[in-house]
């Protein structure tokens, strides 16, 4: 069964008097447990597609399915619920809530889901250990490096075992060593939990880790290929 299916998805943005095509009749299907990179130059449509798949943005036409549920026609509240329970997000920056500690950031999604305190605390500590941040749970984001912050974001994204994780330029603000560490963590989690990873990037180093590479240009898919991951 496919994790994501996009059927003829279009999205047009209006900038002043000019219409810009964000997504131009995009058709893709991503299998459950896949590790996919969306690659495109700036403005190529990768973030737009990622946002549409994540229910953060609504396409102008076409259908988007997450598993067996069509999401492009859902209301705000249903989309929020979908994001809360089925999708984990890792953004490029401003990933964490500054007033919460690392552990509380990881617990945040579970708390909104209504998971009991003792259970979510235990899960948060376990997942922080898994991403290599054992002992740093009480630090606030400002007390952590960029790489550590991204690891906390990853921990938060996977802690409630979502079907897929959507990552938008997750390594953009990281040095190469930290970026590699983060990607290795993604790969490990993908293998361990069979979580689908869809990563939007234009970083060649990140693309090496993907088993499937989808290249986009001007909102269209120009290449969709399988490859041997690093």
């Amino acid at each position: 069964m496919s994790a994501v299916r996009c059927v003829d998805v279009c999205k047009i943005y209006r900038q002043g008097e000019v219409d810009i095509c964000g997504l131009d009749h995009v058709n893709i299907e991503i299998e459950a447990g896949g590790f996919v990179c969306l690659s495109a130059p700036s403005g190529g449509g990768k973030t737009t597609l990622l946002n549409a798949i994540g229910g953060l943005d609504r396409p102008d036409s076409g259908e988007i399915w997450i598993g067996d549920r069509r999401i492009d026609n859902l209301g705000k509240s249903d989309l929020a619920d979908l994001r809360l329970r089925r999708i984990g997000f890792v953004f490029q920056a401003y990933n964490l809530i500054p007033v919460l500690t690392a552990r509380e950031n990881v617990e945040f999604v579970m708390q909104v889901q209504g998971v009991p305190a003792s259970e979510r605390r235990q899960q948060a500590l376990e997942i922080l250990q898994e991403v290599g941040l054992a002992g740093l749970g009480d630090r606030r984001p400002a007390q952590m490096s960029g790489g550590q912050q991204q690891r906390v974001a990853v921990a938060r994204a996977i802690v409630s075992r979502p079907e897929m994780v959507l990552a938008d330029e997750p390594t953009a603000n990281l040095d190469s060593h930290t970026a590699d560490q983060l990607m290795e963590l993604f790969v490990a989690l993908n293998r361990q939990h069979n979580t689908t990873f869809i990563i939007a990037t234009h970083d060649q180093r990140v693309m090496r880790y993907a088993r499937r590479l989808i290249r986009m240009l001007d909102g269209r898919i120009v290449e969709d290929s399988l490859q041997n991951a690093a």
Binding site: L56, A80, V112
Partner: protein, 409 residues
């Protein structure tokens, strides 16, 4: 419950992200609340004093009259002294003091001049706990008994008549048969009242003496009754009216003295307007603080929405943040006001504006009085209107589209 916990945690921690701004806003709320309560207490104290002085001036809390007395306070609008069943009520726990009086229009004449006055026949023992007179004797003595044949006049009247203590004056009035009656009195006491007009209008002698002069046996013009609290006289009036019967007019002080009751109503309205005006000034600061907080945290708001937090939780976060600020400000403001009022419990000397105060019927020392009702009213206004004021920025925060907010530069 768990969602409320995260909303409250976020609200509380966000509140202290910018310590200085929060402390300034807290100080503004505290000072605003203090100003609301302190000014209210001052006004309340002034009005209460006016009412108490007014009530002590003679009326008491409730009065019983002949039904026609208030329209025509003449000697033929009399009534018998309190009957046994009324005496039982007057001796009850709700009655602090009572007095029956004869009150008729009269003319007072000295060797030099004559003036129209109200001649009041009193029982001195009854008046001691009820009216100002016994404490207002500035020269001479108070009356001894109902049969005292001396007369007490005001300082201004003495000046007007160009007479003095110990001199004789003549008082003329009418008996129930419309015959002119007069009697010579010796001035045994001179009183000074806080309201100048009292000194020019009222003269007092023993009730029995006046009754004999007017040939009205033991009949009286009014019975004045003092209860526990001037704010709660209706039950006392009803109890007395039930006994006094339909042939008597039983009226509370606020009917007898329209000026005082109107003043009380005006002050209530003024207090409310004052509180709202102070709050409106505060609300600009509050709304500005929240709007700034929303603008500073747009990306976080976007992140939380993207992670699946419902807009209502974002709204709740800002409302709780505002309420925390208001509650802390209220507590500080209340404590500050209570401390200030307690410190000034002996009164504030406003003798520099004593003449103006006297025009209002107030004394030259203001005693601030804080009532629970005023405290509750101020707190409810601040919390209630503060809640409403915080809704606009909170609503705005909750309406962001996650992707727009998270990518906002």
């Amino acid at each position: 419950m768990r969602i409320a916990a995260i909303v409250c945690t976020l609200a509380w921690r966000n509140l202290w992200r910018n310590h200085r701004r929060t402390l300034i806003m807290l100080a503004a709320i505290a000072v605003g609340v203090w100003a609301m309560l302190f000014m209210t207490a001052l006004m309340r104290g002034m009005v209460n004093e006016m009412v108490r002085d007014g009530i002590r001036a003679l009326p008491g809390h409730v009065q019983i009259h002949h039904p026609g007395f208030r329209d025509d306070p003449s000697v033929d609008k009399l009534m018998p002294p309190p009957a046994a069943d009324l005496l039982v009520v007057l001796g009850g726990e709700d009655v602090v003091a009572w007095a029956s009086r004869v009150k008729v229009p009269a003319v007072i004449t000295s060797e030099r001049d004559s003036r129209g006055v109200t001649l009041i026949g009193i029982a001195p023992d009854e008046e001691r706990g009820l009216s100002f007179l016994a404490d207002a004797i500035a020269e001479g003595r108070f009356l001894d008994s109902v049969d005292d044949t001396g007369i007490i006049v005001g300082r201004k009247m003495v000046d007007n008549l160009e007479t003095r203590l110990g001199k004789r004056i003549v008082v003329m009035s009418q008996d129930p048969d419309n015959e002119i009656v007069d009697r010579g009195f010796r001035i045994v006491g001179i009183f000074e009242a806080s309201i100048a007009s009292y000194e020019e209008q009222m003269i007092f002698s023993g009730r029995g003496t006046v009754q004999r002069m007017l040939r009205i046996d033991d009949q009286v013009s009014e019975i004045a009754i003092l209860g526990e609290d001037y704010r709660a006289v209706d039950s006392l009036r009803d109890a007395i009216a039930a006994i006094a019967g339909e042939g008597r007019a039983v009226q509370p002080w606020y009917t007898l003295n329209k000026y005082l009751s109107t003043m009380l109503g005006v002050m209530d309205g003024f207090v409310l307007i004052w509180m709202i005006v102070v709050f409106l000034a505060l609300s600009f600061g509050l709304v500005n603080t929240l709007v700034m907080a929303v603008f500073e945290r747009i990306r976080e708001i976007g992140l939380m929405l993207a992670l699946g937090m419902k807009p209502v939780m974002i709204l709740g976060q800002f409302v709780v943040e505002s309420l925390c600020l208001l509650v802390m400000g209220l507590v500080s403001g209340n404590l500050l006001a209570i401390a200030t009022i307690a410190t000034l419990s002996s009164g504030i000397d406003v003798s520099v504006v004593a003449e103006g105060m006297e025009m209002f019927g107030a004394g030259s020392v203001l005693h601030p009085e804080l009532t629970l009702t005023d405290v509750i009213r101020a707190n409810v206004i601040v919390i209630g209107l503060g809640f409403l004021a915080s809704l606009a920025p909170a609503w705005r925060a909750s309406r962001y589209q996650p992707i727009e907010a998270i990518t906002r530069v």
